[in-house]
Symmetry: C2
Subunit: 280 residues, 2 copies
């Protein structure tokens, strides 16, 4: 039976009690509207930790004013059932009022990795992500927190925060879970019309083509981008936001691929923005 | 016997062991060169907590390039003896290399309270203070951390961080300890030549005059500043940095004093910058 907790002092007290008994906490922070990507994290936490805590909170601080905070999909009943199905012990659903008492002025930022890729398209995004996670980590004291590889830059920036601010917990990044046609699972896929949904898979297949080129010995990223972009252009109604080959540690652009690199991309399908990445 | 710890994993393990035994930790973060102000914090911690941990670390992140990081007074042997005299249990003296592994990119900032007063004169100062404290709090897990009222703005910004980022600890702010002539104790007083030292007390006595004016019923801050400034001007070799009457919660300027306010000032005495404040 999944226990729903809404108050900050309640989750703190609960987590503290668990830790005091010597049990480990596996934590999955989410914005809800669970899909198989989330469930894969819950399952891993269930397997590895004594107690599984999932937070469900659409964090306003990581959305810019023009972004989709208001229309972000929410369905508490559905999420609770899915959490229960995965034997999540606690579902933490705080209120904006308690999470961001006004005036709110303290933020955690990454000052070098959050200005590229997603951070370039969404300037205050990672500041919002790090701030809410610092809060949740303080409240929940997890031993391990689980994230998805789809949001690679996010996972990297979180790992930097853990290490640099000396948080006492481990981060595990699990593989991207995909639909049958390869589309990376995302709560935002819900925004897609059936025709957009059809076209959305082109991001994955275009990235795949890029990966295959590297596998076949092509090292020059300009050449690779040319192919990937032409693949995206063939699908109508797709607008490229960015496409980069980056160093997985520094996120610096790579011109010639000679070691492990990450091919990352973001596209617009109608009004929906989708991201994905592949190791090459 | 005060135990000296230099390694991050050692202080984390030590603190964790103390907490596991159900004991409380009183923590005083310092930059060393202890004076009676520091010692008053050690004594309070000794009185209230089972175990007292003091950190001694001149934090480079809170100094601007042109500031006094290099010449900031350091004397480990003297500090260790003073800590021992106050029965401090652990003195934590980390290295820059462990505290700021390069490249370092994650910072904690207060985005509204750190642009006025000290923050105006020292733009990245509070970002450095909050970042090092977040690190120390994560390593040491204190129940209570102690600060001095002399650095009022710092104490306020730290309290905001604790509350807004949901750190699980209490902050206590203890009264400013003064020399016989009223000069607020500060490690930087060491920089003063005997003649400068004589003139330095004028900051306190000028603020006192301002406080007395409020006590006598004068409410207008412009009128109060006029008197305080003329008092400072009478002492040669003193340069005013700032003088303000502020709301103790928001640090907003107050024109007419009708409730508890803080009279704050910073001056240059030669090449030394001194700060002080008084409740009015």
């Amino acid at each position: 039976m999944t226990c729903v907790i809404r108050l900050l002092e309640e989750i703190r007290r609960t987590a503290h009690y668990i830790k005091k008994k010597g049990k480990t906490i596996g934590f999955v922070p989410t914005m809800g509207y669970f899909h198989e990507g989330h469930l894969s994290l819950f399952r891993r936490a269930r397997k590895e930790a004594d107690v599984v805590i999932v937070s469900l909170y659409v964090n306003p601080a990581q959305f810019a004013p023009q972004e989709d905070f208001k229309k972000y999909p929410r369905n508490f009943k559905r999420d609770l059932e899915l959490a229960q199905g995965e034997k999540v012990d606690y579902l933490f659903c705080p209120t904006d009022k308690e999470m961001y008492p006004q005036p709110f002025s303290t933020f955690v930022s990454n000052e070098s990795l959050s200005s590229v890729l997603e951070g370039k398209s969404r300037p205050a995004h990672f500041r919002g992500v790090l701030t809410i996670l610092a809060k949740l980590f303080h409240l929940i004291e997890p031993d391990v927190a689980y994230f998805g590889q789809k949001d690679y830059q996010q996972a990297l920036i979180i790992q930097k925060m853990i290490k640099e601010l000396n948080f006492n917990l481990k981060i595990k990044v699990l593989p991207t879970v995909r639909e049958k046609d390869g589309l990376a699972m995302s709560s935002r896929n819900l925004y897609l019309t059936p025709s957009e949904r059809n076209r959305a898979r082109t991001l994955f297949s275009a990235l795949q083509q890029g990966r295959d080129m590297v596998s076949s010995g092509i090292r020059n990223s300009t050449e690779i981008f040319k192919k990937v972009k032409s693949c995206l252009r063939r699908t109508p109604g797709i607008k490229l936001d960015y496409l980069e080959m980056v160093d997985p540690e520094t996120l610096e652009k790579i011109k010639e691929v000679h070691k492990r690199a990450l091919l990352v991309g973001a596209i617009w399908v109608g009004k929906t923005r989708l991201i994905d990445n592949l190791w090459v």
